[in-house]
């Protein structure tokens, strides 16, 4: 809270300290939405500049980290909205590596770096059938094992809204994945 107040009073070093201390957290949030470093950095910078202008609205009831997480989530959602989404996942969207990965993945053994890259690409393809908000909910809950409450705090949504989003997203990506798995049968 002291840092926030000092920064609000125009103390440059306090603001610099906020940036230094919380940029890993803000980058972590932005990484959920973007995989390109330039986009993550752009989003993170916008988050801190926005945070500075909104310091007056930070009442100190929660942590600065939680407050910044919410700003980061909303900023990234705004950035990603309007971006062209793939309407439907098709077999032709899969690369050879992804198709091979799907055929052989076990999930129990420790994945290699190459496999993580392939799986991450595949995750982005599957997630692209969802709205940015649903992507966010699913990635946090099923990917990062965050609780419903944590997602609600990070996004500002109610817990029931988070549950609905997660349910809907899970169903949609499962159906998309089933289509991919059945690609050889059709």
């Amino acid at each position: 809270m002291d840092l926030a107040r000092q920064a609000q009073d125009g103390d440059e070093s306090a603001f610099a300290e906020i940036v230094r201390r919380y940029s890993p957290r803000v980058f972590s949030v932005a990484s959920r939405f973007f995989r390109q470093r330039s986009l993550v950095e752009e989003a993170a910078q916008e988050v801190f500049l926005k945070a500075f202008t909104q310091l007056g609205s930070f009442e100190g009831r929660g942590s600065i980290e939680g407050w910044l997480t919410r700003i980061a989530t909303n900023t990234c959602l705004n950035m990603i909205r309007g971006a062209k989404r793939r309407p439907e996942l098709t077999v032709s969207d899969l690369t050879d590596d992804e198709a091979q990965w799907l055929d052989h993945v076990d999930g129990r053994e420790q994945p290699s770096v190459e496999n993580i890259v392939v799986a991450t690409d595949l995750a982005d393809r599957v997630l692209s059938v969802l709205s940015p908000e649903d992507q966010q909910a699913l990635l946090m809950i099923d990917g990062e094992e965050a609780s419903i409450r944590e997602v609600a705090e990070a996004t500002g949504w109610s817990e029931s809204k988070v549950k609905v989003r997660a349910f809907r997203a899970r169903k949609k990506v499962r159906e998309a994945m089933e289509k991919l798995l059945n690609r050889g049968d059709k």
């Binding site: 991450t120 995750a123 990506v173």
Partner: protein
Amino acid sequence: MKDKHIIDVLDNTSIASLSENELSEVQAHARECVSCREAYEAARLIGVVLQSRAQTKIEPSPFFQTRVMAAWREEQAVDSVPAMLRLWRSARAVVSSMAVTTAALAALTFMLPAQTTPVMDQRASMLSAESVIMGSDDQMTYEQVLSTIYEDDDEAR
């Protein structure tokens, strides 16, 4: 759960968050039910790819803080200039060119001698349609017009 379809369970929660008992029940059902087996396999793979995706984090570069502070100072500098001055700076070129144009138009209006506009020939409005057709400036009577028009016919007769 063995006889109950598990699709709702799979959509309600991630496989990773199922307890051991729940997981073995889900797997037992999936072994015997084809549609649920496909759903289970898809949900399992989704869990794997999402966890891989969640591991992909980009760390801030060492220069990030410097970059943000530079952007912040730039914003501060912009904010310190009065709004009217900023407005004037951005609109200066347009306002100047408009002022020059207005001055030039005013000079042309007041300084050049006024030109007389040609007065419409009053007589023109008095001409009848028939006289215009006949190409004559003089007013013609109705009989004259008729006789001029039907002159050829009379000759023919």
